[in-house]
Subunit: 182 residues, 2 copies
């Protein structure tokens, strides 16, 4: 599948970037809402893309002697990225979710234990939702124009908020289902 390959090509296609900055995108930024990779996965993949001639590298010196590697996309790399971007793949497997697994096995715990679980999940997802909504109001006061980088940022952030909303609604429905039994 090599999805990481295309995530890296896409980021590099935005302009020259270092492996460190790519890792930051995955770990802290908007991207973390739908993809992630540790630096220990990023560096070897960059090495591979280089060997495949999809990117080039330029060594630069920051300050006195700190070395940085700036990666740039090649024509070939851009072509492969755009080809992938237009692919219409079948829906992948449903994502794994440990809390749903615990819910599936809720018959092995008491109602009060499961309720405690639900309240803890509500807290955590409410916190996450608030953080996402904060990003949204700070970054966007109207819908960015299609074709801009900002449109993509907006769309995936909106998706992340809606996903949290839906998860919260589900948790509340589970709480309701425990208590409102006829």
């Amino acid at each position: 599948m090599r999805t990481l390959k295309y995530a890296l090509l896409g980021l590099i296609d935005r302009g020259p970037i270092t492996g460190y900055d790519i890792s930051k995108e995955f770990e802290k930024r908007i991207m973390a809402n739908f993809w992630h990779a540790k630096h220990s996965q990023v560096y070897p993949e960059l090495k591979r893309l280089l060997e495949e001639n999809l990117i080039t590298v330029e060594l630069i010196i920051q300050g006195e002697k700190m070395e940085k590697k700036l990666y740039t996309i090649t024509t070939e790399g851009h072509a492969e990225f755009v080809e992938w971007l237009l692919l219409d793949e079948p829906l992948g497997v449903t994502p794994k979710d440990v809390f749903r697994l615990r819910t599936f096995f809720s018959d092995f715990m008491s109602a009060s234990d499961y309720e405690q679980h639900l309240h803890s999940q509500l807290d955590k997802h409410n916190f996450k939702k608030a953080s996402l909504e904060n990003s949204m109001t700070k970054s966007f006061d109207n819908i960015p124009e299609y074709g801009s980088k900002e449109f993509g940022d907006y769309a995936v952030l909106l998706g992340a908020i809606m996903r949290e909303d839906s998860y919260l609604a589900w948790l509340k429905a589970c709480l309701g289902a425990i208590n409102r039994q006829d």
Copy 2:
């Protein structure tokens, strides 16, 4: 993390079961909505659980000579499973989503190409939602009692439907955002 371990222990804790039937749960049944594993991952994990004395095995002959292995939970296995079930873990990493990745990079494709993607996704998720809703109406005409196996089935199925609903709403919002620009 060994989540597969606990998924297997939970299934075996419901009663003696074969590796084949466990694999079926992951591939075809309700479980596929939040966890999955191929038989090539299930059989070695069962072997390991056996070595760890969390389960026992009984060889039975089906018909003339077809061998089946029935796995049963041990006291130790049950204890470990329940202990895991009550753990309140921090939220795991956000699940990966290839279509969200493509959306993030939508500035590299034309509006009509992205709209085509959105319509294709709408089709696929509508189909999935319809299939889930069919399971729901076929299996449940009211909310099962908390504590029954059916409650877990109902809750995760409801969650799966809500997740599809939310995804569909997001896709429609993206469509709207392309066109309704001020």
